[in-house]
Symmetry: C2
Subunit: 481 residues, 2 copies
């Protein structure tokens, strides 16, 4: 006896419905304007059985709302097959003051991939938890219909030429396998019923009843949110085993220039060959660069890509977010930049900005950056579990070496653009940054995505180090060595 076996439903006649729905619609329209003004992101998710009237319910909501601030995103059509499926849902989440309706969502993904239900549900829970913490209101509906009424609706639709196309072989299959489908949905719903964003199961055996229930719940949820009655999931600070210290790193490692040149060409050719192998095997690679100002990130990246086919990689610089990005969940722009299968994305600075510059410069609150460790590790783990290679580098230089490079940049006309007032200001906060870096490395060096700390006082040494590590990681994935 699962949660979907209860077939009780709110029965309602047309006349009664109109009386009930009118004030609810007025209220909802008003609440939407308020949430827009208060910059609350609202995500309403609809899942449900075939012929459960999802389209009709969604349309009733739409005609109530101001079209200037909602969007319906139908994930009903097949997803693109050239990148992580989760990415495609994440790209569509609402920003501040936006209301998005998902017609099918990441839950449909879990449902379609029956063998992975457990893993998918865990991933979804982590994503929703993170979105809830960021201040999003998530309302989830499952529209339920009995086997008998589903079949009745199919027969009725078949008689209408404009609707008969909806009764696909897939729809019939759902009716034949009704029980096992219900069981799978019950499994998904039970696994994802938490964090105060629990499922609302609506029987649509009576469509008027279902519609009025949906409206009532949306109005109630938004009101509760506005009155701060919603409980957000707790923040968690990701623990670590032992603290990492940069002081123990040997920065005196060097490589002879002649040796460097020889190695460089050899390794670059190797990477170029592996790049093609990755392409044929459709494995996405993320290379993440972090490091002190003037640590040599730019030059290092250049050497990595120099012999690669430009069709297969992207260098993604991470600057301060623009106003579209600022309006969204902070990891949104990185999900968006996730590469296609078989492609390489090289990030020049990354999502770790949250616990580095945003922490030190106080662009993020203490609560925001403290919970980010867990959220970032969750994201990387999802990428990695889904078959991607993730390689993270911290380019470390000494404070003296940085000073030397700053001064050299000031002297050299072709390099002056590289040095700004901001670099000098950041340098003054060396100690705060160092603490943030060490905490970041301690907390986010996981088994699947460890940090690689690169001694970079000698640029040549750093470049060879990075090239070798990338090759090692890719070969490990490709040949399991």
């Amino acid at each position: 006896m699962g949660i979907l076996s209860n077939e009780s439903c709110l029965k309602m006649k047309e006349k009664e419905y109109h009386k009930v729905i009118f004030p609810l619609k007025l209220k909802l329209a008003e609440l939407q304007r308020t949430s827009k003004d208060k910059k609350i992101p609202i995500l309403i998710i609809f899942e449900g059985l075939e012929a459960s009237g999802k389209g009709s319910v969604i349309n009733e909501i739409l005609v109530t709302l101001d079209p200037r601030s909602y969007r319906v995103i139908s994930h009903n059509h097949p997803l693109e097959e050239n990148t992580l499926p989760l990415k495609q849902y994440l790209e569509d989440i609402p920003g501040k003051g936006e209301l998005h309706i998902f017609d099918k969502s990441w839950y449909d993904l879990a449902f379609q991939e029956e063998a992975y239900i457990t893993r998918r549900c865990k991933e979804i829970n982590k994503i929703e938890r993170s979105l809830l913490r960021s201040g999003m209101l998530i309302i989830k509906f499952f529209l339920h219909v009995s086997k008998k009424i589903q079949r009745k609706r199919y027969f009725k639709a078949k008689k209408n030429p404009a609707k008969s196309w909806k009764v696909t072989p897939y729809a019939w299959k759902q009716n034949f396998n009704y029980k096992s489908i219900i069981r799978n949905w019950e499994d998904i719903i039970e696994r994802t019923n938490n964090f105060n964003c629990d499922w609302n199961i609506i029987s649509s055996n009576s469509l008027y009843g279902a519609k009025s229930e949906v409206f009532r719940i949306i109005v109630e949820k938004i009101e509760n949110y506005l009155n701060q009655k919603e409980i957000r999931p707790d923040d968690v600070l990701l623990p670590y085993k032992k603290p990492y210290s940069l002081d123990n790193l040997d920065l005196n490692k060097t490589i002879d220039k002649k040796e460097y040149k020889k190695e460089l060409v050899k390794l670059q050719n190797k990477i170029s060959d592996l790049h093609h192998e990755l392409y044929t095997r459709r494995i996405p690679v993320i290379i993440a660069y972090e490091g002190w100002d003037a640590a040599g990130k730019g030059g290092n990246i250049k050497r990595v890509v120099e012999k690669m086919d430009p069709r297969g990689y992207d260098v993604i610089p991470t600057a301060a977010p623009n106003d579209v990005e600022k309006n969204k969940y902070y990891l949104w722009r990185f999900w968006k930049s996730f590469p296609r299968y078989g492609h390489i994305a090289i990030f020049d600075r990354t999502w770790y900005g949250r616990v580095l510059v945003e922490r030190v410069e106080k662009f993020a609150t203490k609560y925001e950056w403290k919970r980010a460790y867990q959220e970032i590790v969750d994201m990387e783990t999802q990428w990695s579990n889904n078959g991607s290679i993730i390689i993270k580098f911290w380019l470390q230089i000494s404070k003296d070496e940085q000073l030397k490079r700053f001064k050299e940049r000031e002297k050299t006309p072709s390099k002056q653009w590289k040095i700004t007032e901001e670099d000098w200001r950041n340098r003054e906060k060396w100690k705060e940054y160092k603490a943030a870096i060490e905490e970041m490395i301690s907390r986010t060096s996981t088994n699947s995505c460890p940090w690689h700390i690169v001694p970079a006082n000698d640029k040549y040494y750093a470049r060879i180090f990075v090239l070798k590590k990338i090759i090692e990681k890719i070969e490990k994935k490709l040949y399991n060595i």
Copy 2:
């Protein structure tokens, strides 16, 4: 003897190349920074034969540039087949201060669709003309290689396991049909060699020679642009046959409420049926709404979509551009919102903002809005020629009726949010707006995309008018009646 028959090429040895390329690279890096500061959008297009070394040339440019402000967009993989192919290129154009490199471009589209070369080239010319006028620098390269050397490179690549995959059956076909392929490219190049963004044909028989030529030309073009030596295409003001006057419109048309209700349901059901027919036939539809403040656009749109399947339409409100949009060519955001095949996009205000609010409020310069008539008509014509239905409505109300509605909005609590200071300010400029509207209708009412002027003093009448017109237009396309 076409323009590609000349096989002369700049021959260069490795040592000489390094001497030549070093100062060019330094210069290019500097010019890129200057163009970024001066907010110039730069588009570099690469087309060429197989094995002409496109990838290698592009990569040489990339390692020269600051990765923070370029992007390579490879249009080498097959395009998505669910929307206008031109849209997918337009989405990728650079914004102010950005440098984008197209590895294959809209020219490849023209080349692939041999039967449409003439039409495609005309469309491309119009798009490039419009981009050039907007201040973009466009540099086009065609990399040429002789039949003999192409074959030689294939054989060499076949021996290298990491490169042999590049020698596809398609590549061989190109070598066998070398002459006819050259003829098609000559045709395309000759048709699109204009507006001071002419083709640079580079023989890559010597790869070092080709690279140094490409660098020399890019440096020269950017320098010329910065020194204002580039000549932009002239602005054109689209002529019209006879001026349109709103004064002749009969605004007293009404419909009885009972009659309205009956008609409404009938027409809504009809549209819902046609919507499915459009979906199966994969025809995209654009419905564009413009009208005075309080003319009833929102309510009108609601009635149109009320019975439609929400999976098949989008309502796109057009507000002031956000900072990403502001940074791009002004029609970029509308190309981006072009619907998928079989879908309906309803624009609540449109690209005509350029010649209405942006003109009256002086957000656009006189030169900008004057040339916009032609550019907008070009865009609509391209959409229409490629199989879309475009329906444009102007909702007209009298000045008195507007005042009545404003006052009513102020009195009704649930409508107060609809009326702002700005509405009152716009009302004071009634005369300027009227002149702009009339000029817009006169200049942009074309055979394929005429304006439909809707008498909207009676909201019911306006809704029925719009529904009927949409049905008429869709039926005309579907059944050719």
